[in-house]
Structures are given as structure tokens and as C-alpha cells.
């Protein structure tokens, strides 16, 4: 009895030993070191909802497109490391150094051009001082033209159209409307607001010299309690349309004041959707709010895209797929890694340059090698509740595509003289 018992024990031990040996062998293959990507954006504070929403979209893209399908580069998983910068340039520095210290080499960042600018110069300095430990900046949202012009960097890639490209499309759209004769421009008093103002005036003068700019107003950012006094000026100027680069609460308050005053004119915007804005504008904003952006919106261009968005919504009922460019960016990044069979920023950067990519919506994307600016179709959508398949803020309202421009028509010149690292 005792012997039998012993032999069973022995067998069991032997078997488990074998099993663990086998497991550890295969395990070492499947548990390869993950490819770690830092996500530096606001996850706490006033802007937390935008950053968190971006993080969910990036995480979803990584899980849905790659991790659930066996990973990348022969079985490595993508791990997203969220780092909270509270949308502050100073905290971005701290999180950047944390990323360096944890060996993260690729950084996703999008919110606030001020943050993107400081991160860009920090990364350039860091890469110059620490050869062999370079960092790559994937900018999925910051639209300050300077990042792919005067301050362009080999280590920075932008996956959104910059402000001038968007304005180019927007002014095309405005120029097509013969009823618009007078335009009022109002914006927050900072670099993006200035770019919107200067560029629209310049482009409109070119495209429609008959349009009169009846107002060009700046207000301090986040300081205005009540926009009605500004709206009074808009009304008395007899404007047929308003252009604004406002975002957040400044955007909502401005639009609400314009609508409340009974003024029935279109408002051309950049950031007047999602994150509570669509729900707050609701029925009042229908057919008044126009938005220029890079996402095709409703109707969704492909079945695949619809299924992808629906699945995201199922997993995150309180979030919307607001920035599809995050998915574009991750897919192109992975394609660059696969092409170069490397996770080194230098190799990835070379593979990304002049990459052409067809995204899930069936759109052609091109990462221009000279300035690292993505060239993609741009769209103008209108805030409505008609024919909305995928709404925003669970409000029944959403964006409906009204006008599209193929990528090659959105190209604008650049002044980038890129300093390429020698290897």
C-alpha cells in the first residue's frame, strides 16, 4: 500500500514536472516581453474626460486589433502605460522622465498644443543628449502648425491635420455658399485662436474676395462668464456666419449664447462635439454647428468600421469613439514596427516616413516624409439628429458628414527643414 502510494506520488510529481517544463518552454514564447507604449495625457483634473476617453480608445485599438489576435512582431503584446500629465507642461516633463526611467520609448500624446510643443522640444533635446535612448512622439491630436513647420522634428509624427489644413477645407466649404457675405471670427486669445483668425482671413480673401470680415475678436481663454455681450456685437455686425476655434466650456457657452439670442446663422467650429458638448447643444444646435475634422462620421463608411465602433460602445457605454485617428496612428505604428522588425524609435521613424496606409474606413493615408505630417481626407459634418447611426454623448444627436475632401487636396506647403540624426 505504501509503495503504491509512493509510486503514484512519484508519477504525479514526474508528470507535473514534465508539464511545467513544457509549459515553461512554450510559456517563454507566449510571454515575450510586451511592446510598451506610454500614453501621456490628462487623466485627472479639468481635462480628465478627454484624456481618459483617448486612453480608452487607444487601449481598445491595441486589444481589439492586435492583442486579441496574438500580438505583434511574432507574439508580443502591446501594453499601454497611462501617465497623467494633468494637461500641464510641467507635469508632462515629470511624466516624460518617468517614461524614460521605465524604458518606454514611444509616447502617445495629443491634448493641448502647448504640451505637445514643450514635449517636442524636450524630446529633441533628450535624443540629442542621449544617443541610443531616443524617444518617439506620436502626436494624435495637437494641431499647432508649428510642429510640422518651423519646429518640425525627426522624432515627431502628427496623425491629425494641422490647423491650416483644416481651415483650408473649411474656407473651401464656406466659399461654396454664395449666401455668406459677412463673417464674424471670434476665438480664444492664444496661439490656436490667432492661427484660426489670421488664416481664415487670408484664405477667404483669396477664395472669396467679396466676403467681408465684419468682426475679428479675441477673448481671454476660460475667463468669460457670459458670452452675450460678444453675441450682441455679432448680431449688430449683421454677420451671416461665425468661425471659432473655441473648445470646452468656452465653445458651449458661445454657441448657447448665439442660439439663445435668436440668431439663425451657421457656426463653423473645430471642437464642438462629444464630451458633453453635443448633449448640451442638443436640439438648439441642429443644422447650425458645423465641424471640420478628419473622421468620416455618419454615415459610417464601412461595415468593418461600424462593427469596430459598435463594439467599442458596447465595452465603454459612456464613451464615444471621438478620435478615430488614434486607431490610425496605432495601426501605422505597428505596421512600421512589422516592416522594420524593430521597436527602436529610429527604425520605426524611418519606416513611418512616406508610409501609405488604407484605414478601416477605406481612406488613403500618407505620412509625408518631409515634415512627418499625415495627409488624409478631411470632412465637414453638421450637428443633427437626422440619419445618425452612431450618436454622441448617448444624446441621439451626432455628426452627419456633409462635405469631404480627398487627402491629396488637403496638402499645404510646409517650411520644415528637418535635422536628421546620423547613424
Amino acid at each position: 500500500m505504501k509503495r503504491l502510494h509512493r509510486s503514484i506520488t512519484f508519477r504525479i510529481t514526474l508528470r507535473s514536472l514534465l508539464a511545467s517544463l513544457v509549459l515553461s518552454f512554450f510559456g517563454s514564447i507566449s510571454a515575450q516581453e510586451p511592446v510598451r507604449i506610454a500614453f501621456i495625457d490628462p487623466l485627472s483634473g479639468t481635462f480628465a474626460s478627454i484624456g481618459t476617453s483617448g486612453l480608452k480608445q487607444l487601449q481598445y485599438a491595441a486589444d481589439e486589433l492586435f492583442n486579441s489576435k496574438g500580438g505583434i512582431l511574432g507574439g508580443r503584446m502591446i501594453e499601454i502605460v497611462p501617465l497623467d500629465n494633468k494637461q500641464s507642461p510641467t507635469d508632462t516633463q515629470i511624466q516624460f522622465r518617468r517614461a524614460v526611467s521605465e524604458g518606454l520609448r514611444i509616447i502617445f500624446q495629443g491634448n493641448s498644443s502647448a504640451v505637445a510643443n514643450t514635449l517636442n522640444s524636450t524630446i529633441s533635446r533628450h535624443n540629442r543628449r542621449n544617443p541610443g535612448q531616443e524617444i518617439l512622439q506620436i502626436n494624435y491630436s495637437a494641431v499647432d502648425p508649428i510642429l510640422t513647420n518651423e519646429q518640425c522634428s525627426f522624432w515627431h509624427f502628427r496623425f491629425d491635420a494641422h490647423a491650416v489644413m483644416k481651415l483650408n477645407v473649411l474656407t473651401d466649404y464656406i466659399a461654396m455658399n454664395p449666401e455668406i457675405k459677412k463673417i464674424y471670427i471670434i476665438g480664444q486669445d492664444y496661439s490656436f485662436g490667432q492661427v484660426v483668425s489670421d488664416t481664415s482671413i487670408e484664405l477667404l480673401r483669396e477664395k472669396r474676395p467679396d466676403i467681408e470680415i465684419v468682426g475679428n475678436e479675441f477673448h481671454p481663454i476660460g475667463q468669460v462668464k457670459d458670452f452675450t455681450p460678444y453675441v450682441t456685437k455679432i448680431v449688430s455686425s449683421d454677420a451671416d456666419a461665425v468661425i471659432t476655434g473655441n473648445f470646452g466650456a468656452d465653445m458651449v457657452s458661445l454657441a448657447r449664447s448665439i442660439i439663445d439670442s435668436g440668431l439663425d446663422i451657421p457656426i463653423y467650429t473645430f471642437y464642438a462635439a462629444y464630451d458633453g458638448i453635443t448633449a448640451t447643444l442638443g436640439a438648439d444646435g441642429v443644422d447650425k454647428i458645423y465641424l471640420v475634422h478628419n473622421d468620416a462620421g455618419n454615415p459610417l463608411p464601412s461595415e468593418e468600421r461600424l462593427a469596430y465602433t459598435r463594439n467599442f460602445k458596447r465595452l465603454n457605454p459612456n464613451n464615444d469613439m471621438t478620435q478615430f485617428r488614434i486607431t490610425n496612428a496605432l495601426q501605422m505604428l505597428v505596421q512600421a514596427m512589422e516592416a522594420s522588425q524593430s521597436t527602436d524609435p529610429y527604425d520605426i521613424a524611418l519606416a513611418l516616413e512616406d508610409m501609405r496606409f488604407t484605414n478601416m474606413s477605406g481612406e488613403e493615408l500618407w505620412m509625408r516624409g518631409e515634415d512627418h505630417q499625415i495627409i488624409q481626407p478631411l470632412h465637414i459634418s453638421v450637428h443633427t439628429d437626422q440619419n445618425i447611426v452612431v450618436d454622441a454623448d448617448n444624446s441621439g444627436f451626432g455628426l452627419y458628414r456633409d462635405f469631404s475632401v480627398p487627402g491629396d487636396e488637403t496638402v499645404v506647403d510646409h517650411s520644415c527643414r528637418m535635422r536628421r540624426p546620423r547613424r
Partner: protein, 410 residues
């Protein structure tokens, strides 16, 4: 002798930290602390020693920092030629000039009038920083490169750790000078004017003049901190002179303890750690910071330093150890109670998804978790309440003045 030992210890800690923790992140945090310490100490000079509550102290920090970055740019373009080790001095001088200007009219009165002027000036400067783009660079700020200019004994400051040693030197020197200031007649009179301006006037000191001197000195050191910021981060933006930064330095000084010289140092260290570490574990860290601040004001009016100094009598009488057990008995349930409150907050925040809390996994969808939490919370609350009496007795015992026959010098 004890004081001298304390200063040597301070220097050793400052210089030794990077030897113990040498990761990039650790150095970053130490650099932040260095900046925060000088800034918070300079703030304490106003509020703690001078009784002037300022809601706009970031103005001097920020202006100093901006000028320091511009000085770095000038060095880069060879407009001027000096070692970047002197950059904090540039910041300090600008802070001083700004403080002389503002102080000339704001130090007439302390109290609410001073607080309101500082608020107004703070808002005005913050607003102008966005309007005057050529100097302040708009919301993206201005940036520079510190590696130009003559090397300092062969060091070119490519790495953060080199900047840390430079900062540590400046921190030490600044701390010494700020401490010495408290020992000068001007520093002593600042305390007198804080406590009773009328009497101070009676003995022949102009309260306004005393406040003005404190204010300017404080502005100078805030500017030095701004210069250190410029060296460390190589850029500066408008957020470094707006109300948020002003509020943060107030938090640091207050949580650390206003009345004590060492208080702001403690506050700077604690807040820097919270800012850079806690934010990685929870998105709600700002809420916790707010709770901690309000609780500190309510229950520890003299801050952390005040709490530590409360034990001075017991320590001098050698009875500190008798407090250990009562503290443990009351403290353990108190911490558990706090922990269950935090767990409840986190559970509300992570609605519908399980999340890790310390070593547990909590799920707000699980009623059992809620019940367990409520039970732990209630039990620890009552345990804490019950043992509070014993702690009080032990405290009285440890601090009781003895009969002359028993006690030492007391």
C-alpha cells in the same frame, strides 16, 4: 552645536539622495523638491513669519523663471557670457525687482487688504502673460537649452543629476540665508509686526517698512526658485505664474506647518511626492489632496511640523516611548477607518468594474464588498472612538509638569 549638526545633516541628505536613488525618475522628483523647498520657504517668509497671506506668490517665481529662461537664450545666442550656475541669481534679481515694485504699494496693510491686492496682481500678471506673447511666449511658453555657455569645472549640465547637484547647492545656500534672515533684527521684527503691528510701531519700527523688507526678500527667493525651475525644465509657461501655482505653494507651506522654519520643507517634500507618485495610482489624487488640506487646517492648524513639535515636551522628559502604545492602539483603527473611506470613494469612482485597492480587488457591483467595507469602517470607527480616551490620558501623563522633586530641568 545641535543646530550645526542639523545643518550638516541637511547638507548630507541633500547631497546623498542621488546616491541612494539614482533612477531618472528619482532625480526628477528630487529636482522638483529642490525647487519646491526654496519656493515654499520663501512663501513662509511672507505668511509664517510676516503674517501676510498672499494669493499671488507665483508671480515672483514665474517672472524670475521667465527672465532666467530668457537669460539662457541670451547665453545660447552669445548676447551675454556667464556660467549657467548663476541663472538662479538672475531669477532672484527679477523676483526682487518685481517685489520692490509691488511691495511699494501692497505692504501698507497686512490682512485682507494685502491678500486682495496679491490676488488682483496675480490675476493681472497671469492675464498679461497670455497677452504679451513676445516675452511670455503665449500658452506654449518659452524654452531654452542649458548646455551652452562656459562649462562649470568641466560640467556641461547635459544630465539632470548634474543639475540636481547644482540645485542642491542653491537650495542649501538659500535655506541658510533664509534661516539667517529670521535671526536678523528685520526677521525678528517681522514676527513682531505679524503678532501686533501697533506695539511694533510704538517701539519705533515702521510696520510697513518691516513688511516691505520681508516681502522683497521673499520675492527674491521665489525668483531664485523660478531660476532653478528654468534650469531644470529648460522651459517655462504661463501656468508657472498663475493662480494654480500660487495656490499650490500656499498648500505646501500650510500643510507643512507655518510657524516653523522646517515646516515648508516638509510640506514641499510631501506635496511633491503626492503630485508625482500618487497620481499614478489614482485619478482622484486631487480630491485626496483637497481632503488632506481641509483636514489639516481643521485638525492640525500648525501643520505636520506643528504635530511633530507637539511632542517636544514629552521627548525632553523622556516619555515619548510611553505614547507609542496608545498611538498604535488608536492609530491602527484610525488608519483602517480612513482606508475604508478611501475604498468607498474608489468604489464609487470605478462603478461597474473591479479594480485593485492595496492588496484587495474590489467591485462596486458586489453587495458583499459594500457590506464588508461598511463593517470594517464602522468597527474601526468605534474602536478608534473608544481608545481616544486612553490616548488622551497617556498624552496628559506624558506632558504633565512634574513636581520639582522628581523632574529635571523640564
Amino acid at each position: 552645536m545641535g543646530k550645526f549638526a542639523a545643518w550638516v545633516g541637511y547638507l548630507i541628505v541633500l547631497l546623498g539622495l542621488p546616491q541612494l536613488f539614482d533612477s531618472v525618475l528619482a532625480i526628477t522628483i528630487f529636482n522638483q523638491m529642490a525647487i519646491a523647498i526654496v519656493f515654499a520657504l520663501s512663501y513662509n517668509m511672507l505668511l509664517g513669519q510676516g503674517g501676510m497671506l498672499s494669493f499671488g506668490h507665483a508671480v515672483y517665481f514665474g517672472l524670475g523663471g521667465f527672465m532666467a529662461v530668457h537669460a539662457l537664450i541670451m547665453i545660447e545666442f552669445e548676447t551675454v557670457y556667464f556660467s549657467i550656475t548663476l541663472i538662479p541669481l538672475v531669477g532672484g534679481l527679477i523676483g526682487l525687482i518685481a517685489a520692490v515694485f509691488v511691495g511699494s504699494f501692497s505692504t501698507h496693510k497686512a490682512g485682507t487688504v494685502f491678500a486682495m491686492i496679491s490676488l488682483g496682481i496675480g490675476e493681472l500678471v497671469a492675464a498679461s502673460s497670455l497677452i504679451f506673447v513676445s516675452f511670455f511666449g503665449g500658452e506654449a511658453g518659452v524654452s531654452a537649452d542649458r548646455t551652452f555657455g562656459p562649462p562649470f569645472f568641466g560640467v556641461e549640465f547635459f544630465q539632470d543629476v548634474e543639475i540636481y547637484y547644482l540645485s542642491a547647492g542653491w537650495v542649501f545656500v538659500s535655506t541658510v540665508f533664509m534661516y539667517l534672515f529670521t535671526q536678523t533684527p528685520a526677521g525678528r521684527m517681522a514676527n513682531a509686526v505679524r503678532d501686533n503691528p501697533e506695539r511694533a510701531e510704538f517701539i519705533g519700527y515702521s510696520a510697513r517698512r518691516v513688511r516691505f523688507i520681508s516681502f522683497c526678500t521673499s520675492g527674491f527667493f521665489a525668483g531664485v526658485a523660478g531660476g532653478l525651475f528654468a534650469l531644470n525644465y529648460e522651459f517655462i509657461t504661463e501656468e508657472n505664474l498663475n493662480a494654480v501655482t500660487s495656490g499650490r505653494v500656499l498648500l505646501m507651506a500650510y500643510i507643512g506647518g507655518l510657524g516653523y522654519f522646517i515646516g515648508p520643507i516638509i510640506g514641499a517634500v510631501v506635496l511633491t511626492l503626492m503630485n508625482s507618485l500618487l497620481s499614478n495610482y489614482t485619478e482622484l489624487w486631487m480630491l485626496y489632496l483637497g481632503m488632506m488640506f481641509v483636514l489639516t487646517v481643521l485638525f492640525l492648524p500648525r501643520g505636520f511640523a506643528g504635530f511633530i513639535m507637539m511632542h517636544q515636551t514629552a521627548w525632553l522628559r523622556g516619555k515619548l516611548s510611553s505614547l507609542f502604545l496608545p498611538y498604535l492602539i488608536t492609530g491602527t483603527p484610525a488608519i483602517m477607518f480612513g482606508g475604508s473611506i478611501l475604498a468607498a470613494i474608489e468604489m464609487l469612482h470605478h462603478e461597474g468594474e473591479p479594480f485593485g485597492f492595496l492588496f484587495l480587488t474590489l467591485d462596486s457591483g458586489n453587495t458583499l464588498h459594500w457590506l464588508a467595507l461598511a463593517a470594517v469602517g464602522a468597527a474601526s470607527y468605534f474602536a478608534c472612538r473608544r481608545s481616544l480616551g486612553q490616548l488622551n490620558v497617556a498624552w496628559e501623563e506624558a506632558n504633565r509638569m512634574d513636581n520639582p522633586t522628581e523632574g529635571g530641568p523640564g
